[in-house]
């Protein structure tokens, strides 16, 4: 009985080691499996994953219109004060005052890419972009205003 256990121990040990060697041997003989990105060289063809979170951006359409209502939900959701929404009051054609965004100030150097602002946004005005080349020589360049100058809110978004 002891001998049987002993032999099965040896057999199981060797076969599990061989299983591992088979896997690594497969990788060794299949160079196409190599996943290394040679980054600065392949910059033109670099494909970032869809889920990659590099910075917060506000998409604008061709009429320079965005979807931000200036509700400050993102500012409230942000755990470390990265976003500051400066609001203003637009006068609508009917003569009523309406709250709108003046500047959505985004400070990249404070951002942890936690995605909470994007989740909080009720009108999907902001999203995460896959850019990652953020280095600049001046720290003040990391403070960005996300809405473009002269942009306005798209029709029909409340």
């Amino acid at each position: 009985m002891f001998l049987k256990e002993y032999i099965s121990d040896v057999y199981n040990g060797v076969s599990s080691l061989l299983k591992g060697m088979r896997k690594t041997g497969y990788y060794f003989t299949h160079p196409k499996e190599i996943i290394t990105e040679q980054y600065p060289d392949n910059r033109a063809t670099l494909v970032m994953a869809e889920r990659f979170k590099g910075e917060v951006v506000m998409p604008h359409d061709q009429n320079n219109e965005h979807a931000c209502t200036g509700c400050t939900a993102c500012e409230l959701a942000c755990p470390n004060g990265t976003i500051k929404v400066v609001t203003k009051f637009d006068i609508t054609p009917e003569g009523k005052k309406k709250k709108a965004v003046d500047a959505l100030v985004y400070r990249l150097e404070l951002c942890t890419m936690c995605n909470l602002c994007v989740i909080a946004c009720p009108s999907d005005a902001i999203k995460m972009a896959p850019n990652f080349e953020h280095s600049v020589f001046d720290r003040s360049k990391l403070t960005k205003i996300l809405n473009k100058t002269g942009s306005k809110i798209r029709e029909g978004i409340e």
């Binding site: 121990d9 040896v10 080691l17 591992g20 060697m21 896997k23 690594t24 041997g25 990788y27 060794f28 160079p31 499996e33 190599i34 996943i35 290394t36 040679q38």
Partner: protein, 358 residues
């Protein structure tokens, strides 16, 4: 046809023709020393690069690829860096032993080079107890390692050295038994005779299953003896920073590093000699045509090919298996490898006496 034998005999004839025998012998010694050092340097560069490339491929990476085409000058650049670095000696270290240790480790590696047959009739010293000499000398390297660990005055170094000592002492046994199986089959300790006995087939084929078991045991045991993963407890990076060579820097560190790779080369060369026929080409029974074609490949290429195949195997182990704990290490040796190798030796003795091998 290219052969190293021709070159050496030409040089010897010329030396003995030009000078008196004593001087000629002295000059030959100098040439051998220079060749050994050149081989060491070249092997160090090639094996480190090979290791890094193999590791990269196994881990789905690219490995060094910036210095020179495909990164082939990477190790040369590393060596240059190490030469230019300062060789520090810790303040409270035993200065003499500390500085002596890397040279002892290196010297042991150099001594082991003597009986290895690199090609047909191309051997530094064809001693009649070659195999015994190798097992005797190879266990000396533990002295250098213990010396380094003790003299460093560092707990990590000492722990690493002690582990290495325990490991080499235990695994020497099964390596010795694996070597003995071939000695039993051949009936000689001389390297050249062991190679000559494999004229009509390598021992791994001729010796049936016991020879294969002995080969596997040998590979496991020498992996442990050279302190390589999965038996690299002596320098386990995650626990002991670098084990016995934690305190070494610059060229002295490079010597330890080089000695490790030279030791791998040597144990693989011995493995190739014992089990895979050394420089003997692959011969299959009575296939005259096939055997003749195989004879056309120079014997040095056969030897290097087999040795590098074994080196690749050991590198493959290193990048596949996780490190053993020290109790698992000793369990493996004393509970599994040693009984199996003893039983295997008995089996081989029966086979050799009854003449069951080819």
């Amino acid at each position: 046809m290219f052969s190293l034998e021709g070159i050496t005999s030409t040089i010897q004839d010329w030396l003995f023709f030009k000078f008196n025998p004593t001087l000629a012998l002295a000059i030959e010694c100098v040439i051998v020393i220079l060749l050994a050092i050149a081989l060491f340097a070249a092997l160090g560069l090639i094996l480190v690069l090979m290791e890094r490339k193999v590791a990269a491929r196994i881990q789905i990476r690219l490995g060094p690829n910036r210095v020179g085409p495909g990164g082939i000058f990477q190790t040369a650049a590393d060596t240059l860096k190490l030469i230019m670095k300062e060789g520090l000696t810790p303040d409270k270290a035993d200065k003499f032993l500390f500085n002596l240790a890397p040279f002892i480790v290196m010297m042991v590696a150099m001594l082991l080079l003597a009986p290895i047959a690199f090609a047909k009739n191309f051997q530094i010293w064809d001693i009649n107890i070659g195999v015994l000499y190798i097992s005797a000398i190879s266990s000396l390297s533990v002295i250098g390692i213990l010396m380094a660990g003790w003299a460093s005055n560092n707990k990590y170094s000492l722990l690493g050295a002690m582990r290495s000592g325990a490991q080499i002492v235990s695994y020497e046994l099964s390596a010795g038994f694996a070597v003995l199986t071939i000695v039993v089959l051949t009936g000689s300790l001389q390297i050249s005779e062991i190679v000559a006995a494999q004229q009509n087939g390598w021992w791994i084929f001729k010796g049936h299953i016991p020879a294969i078991i002995a080969f596997v045991l040998y590979i496991i045991a020498v992996t442990a003896e050279t302190n390589r993963a999965p038996f690299d407890l002596a320098e386990a990076e995650s626990e002991l920073t670098a084990g016995f060579h934690t305190e070494y820097s610059g060229m002295k560190f490079a010597l330890f590093f080089l000695a490790e790779y030279i030791n791998i080369f040597i144990v693989c060369a011995i493995g190739a000699t014992l089990f895979l026929g050394g420089w003997m080409p692959l011969h299959i029974g009575n296939w005259q045509g096939f055997n003749h074609i195989m004879d056309f490949i120079p014997s040095s290429i056969w030897f290097m090919g087999k040795t590098f195949f074994l080196i690749f195997l050991i590198m493959w182990f290193r990048w596949t298996f996780p490190r053993l704990r020290v109790d698992q290490l000793l369990n493996l040796e004393w509970k599994y490898l040693l009984p199996i190798s003893l039983f295997n030796l008995l089996l081989v003795a029966v086979i050799a006496i009854l003449g069951w091998h080819f």
